[in-house]
């Protein structure tokens, strides 16, 4: 099982990873994996920033940013990918996860602009919502916590079908208050299902701080109420998140559910519709940005010596180029035809 890790971001905003002395290549990973994931993370960030800008230009009606959550999302994704037999139920803030799982930048932009060819729903749903089965992802809705029982049911069906898939389901700190979260965890526990509950705890649900959401300091301690283990990890450090998830996958497959709380920071307002200056203390976001997961990962890779500054710059440049290109292509492409309105209300 994963060991308990210190989790709370340090109050002074110093990077938690800074404390790790002499970073080394984590076990099970090759240098190429980390370069690959760094590249994906940079690409995701680039798209995320552009999408926000496109919203201000009126081209993207709505977006929820994953800026600040990338390490949690990509660390767990990397573990899932390395395992090779995981299925993911992300939530609306998992932009980086969904992008990194294998979408092209063009597909991402199509989705945000509501164009035909959006891989998740063909423009029917909020961006990147629906299903991306080639990358083993389902997210039916953005109703908070609605995916949890579905993920548990998926895991149940996998076991009944004789395959040993582990299901990772993602949600925020706010989602822990929903009754369905309780029901999902309890059922998974009773049935000992291979489910990893990943709480991306950014300590806010829109404007509502964690202290109005629960009395507890650590969401992870809720796992005890169901009789399975829970851990809090530094969600700003991709390698930490990778390691914790890897171990959780092993545990889940053999012994049942695990709750992983990943402490993250929401860098942007809740969505493009929100303005967080109304409710976040001044300087809080700025301090959080000092622990930017993209920069942290880049620095770690520089330190380990598997990336050079030149390569870092090249990755950034290429990401930007792909984002530009994707924006243009998506912008020029067509929305779904009106005539498709009535399609697929029912299956065949």
């Amino acid at each position: 099982m994963p060991k308990k890790r210190t989790a709370r971001p340090q109050a002074n905003g110093a990077s938690a990873t800074a404390a790790r002395s002499k970073p080394q290549l984590p076990k099970g990973l090759k240098a190429a994996d980390l370069v690959d994931y760094y590249t994906r993370m940079v690409q995701a960030r680039s798209l995320d920033e552009r999408i926000w800008a496109l919203n201000r230009q009126g081209k993207v009606p709505i977006a929820a940013s994953s800026q600040g959550h990338e390490a949690a999302q990509l660390g767990s994704l990397l573990a899932a990918e390395k395992d090779g037999n995981c299925f993911l139920f992300p939530y609306y803030r998992d932009l980086a996860l969904k992008v990194a799982a294998g979408l092209t930048p063009v597909q991402v932009m199509m989705s945000f602009m509501g164009k035909a060819g959006d891989p998740y729903s063909n423009g029917r749903q909020f961006p990147l919502q629906g299903a991306d089965l080639p990358h083993k992802i389902i997210q039916i809705s953005n109703v908070v916590a609605a995916g949890l029982t579905q993920a548990v049911g998926y895991a149940l069906a996998c076991r009944m079908s004789g395959d040993d898939t582990v299901v990772l389901v993602y949600f925020g700190d706010g989602a822990t208050s929903q009754g369905e979260t309780h029901e999902a965890m309890n059922f998974a526990a009773v049935q000992k299902l291979p489910v990893i509950f990943i709480c991306e705890n950014n300590r806010y649900a829109i404007s509502t701080p964690q202290s109005s959401q629960m009395v507890l300091e650590e969401v992870a301690s809720r796992a005890a109420a169901y009789g399975f283990p829970g851990f809090t990890v530094d969600g700003m450090d991709m390698i930490h998140c990778y390691e914790a998830t890897r171990e959780a996958i092993t545990h889940a497959r053999s012994q049942g559910p695990v709750l992983l709380e990943m402490m993250v920071e929401r860098f942007m307002s809740h969505t493009t519709d929100d303005d967080d200056r109304r409710y976040r203390p001044e300087g809080e976001v700025e301090r959080a940005r000092e622990r930017d997961p993209v920069i942290t990962l880049g620095q770690t890779l520089l330190e380990i010596g598997i990336l050079t500054q030149k390569k870092v710059d090249a990755i950034a440049t290429e990401a930007l180029r792909l984002t530009d290109e994707a924006t243009d292509i998506a912008d020029a492409s067509s929305p779904p035809a009106e005539s498709t309105l009535h399609d697929s209300v029912y299956g065949p």
């Binding site: 039916i140 809705s141 029982t149 548990v152 149940l156 069906a157 079908s161 999902a184």
Partner: protein
């Protein structure tokens, strides 16, 4: 053909489909050793094991959401809601999620799931064991809704529902479970979802109903026929998709329409039938469209007097039809 009750027909349909297709499974409260509170799954945990007859914790939202998630993986779950009155905690998963899956994934995912719901009153269940819940599903595109009235229809339609690739809300009127008996073929058969059935042919008035009250309509029709008024009785059997063709054809023939259901009148299924006919068979109408339905009180109360006062009975239906005939 053997004569069976509705609950026997339901049980046989589930059992036969579970034998036929290993992807089918049941989950719900007390469906295991107890065999369900109405015994719909009696003996099944012994036959299929606790993996395919899953006794769940007491939590309807999770029963629905977990069944839904299992359907994503290609299984064919049959979640049971113990009584219709307890479906409310699961509505987010059923109306909010399940109904939108196929549409919201542009057809990539389908939901082959049958939500079995014992419903309805007349059994001294009071406000929380008698509810008619069909309208909420009827008004939800993406769901199919089936509400049979006889053992034959129940078995054939339940089998079709289990083989269907969409979420089907399968409504079993509790009072029909043991009360209504009828012939059921011994061999495998299915009935098409979306086809109404003319249960009595007539020429003067069309009566449309479903579930328990269908039987009261047939009684009332006999009464009226003895008085020289020949009544046609259409059993909808399926609420979604609605067989508008059969209803319209019948009304075009008779010129008069009465709709009967136990559910509250305002905004019920009967309103839609009336609206459809008032639009698409307007020229054929020889009289006002009459609804003989449950009144707008929150389900039927516990006391026998009040339950009787609520329920559309054969007498009340006959009275309504007489008035319409005289128009």
């Amino acid at each position: 053909m053997a004569v069976k009750s509705v609950i026997e027909a339901v049980r046989e349909a589930i059992r036969e489909e579970m034998v036929r297709d290993p992807k089918v499974f049941v989950m719900g409260e007390d469906v295991g050793i107890r065999g369900g509170v109405f015994m719909a799954t009696q003996g099944m945990i012994e036959e299929f094991g606790a993996e395919r007859i899953i006794d769940t914790p007491l939590a309807e939202a999770s029963i629905m959401g977990i069944a839904l998630g299992a359907a994503f993986r290609g299984l064919r779950p049959i979640p049971e809601v113990q009584f219709s009155d307890f479906v409310w905690p699961s509505i987010n998963q059923l109306i909010g999620e399940a109904a939108r899956v196929c549409y919201g994934t542009n057809g990539v995912l389908q939901v082959p799931m049958v939500i079995r719901i014992p419903y309805g009153g007349g059994i001294r269940g009071g406000l929380f064991h008698s509810q008619n819940v069909e309208t909420h599903f009827f008004h939800t595109p993406g769901l199919k809704v089936v509400a049979p009235s006889t053992p034959y229809d129940a078995k054939g339609l339940l089998k079709s529902a289990i083989r269907d690739n969409n979420p089907v809300v399968f409504l079993e009127h509790k009072k029909t479970y043991r009360l209504v008996r009828g012939e059921v073929p011994d061999q495998d058969y299915t009935l098409p979802i979306g086809k109404a059935d003319v249960k009595r042919i007539g020429s003067k008035i069309t009566v449309v109903s479903y579930g328990l009250t269908l039987h009261y309509c047939l009684e009332a029709a006999e009464e009226l026929s003895a008085e020289g008024v020949d009544v046609e009785v259409v059993d909808l059997r399926t609420l979604t998709p609605l067989d508008t063709e059969t209803v319209l054809e019948s009304v075009k023939k008779t010129g008069k329409l009465a709709i009967v259901h136990e559910d509250n009148i305002t905004g019920g299924v009967g309103a839609e039938i009336a609206a459809l006919v008032a639009d698409q068979a307007f020229e054929y109408l020889d009289g006002p469209i009459t609804r003989i339905c449950g009144p707008d009180v929150p389900t039927m109360p516990f006391a026998q007097t009040l339950e009787d006062a609520y329920m559309p009975t054969a007498d009340k239906i006959a009275a309504g039809l007489r008035k319409l005939a005289a128009y």
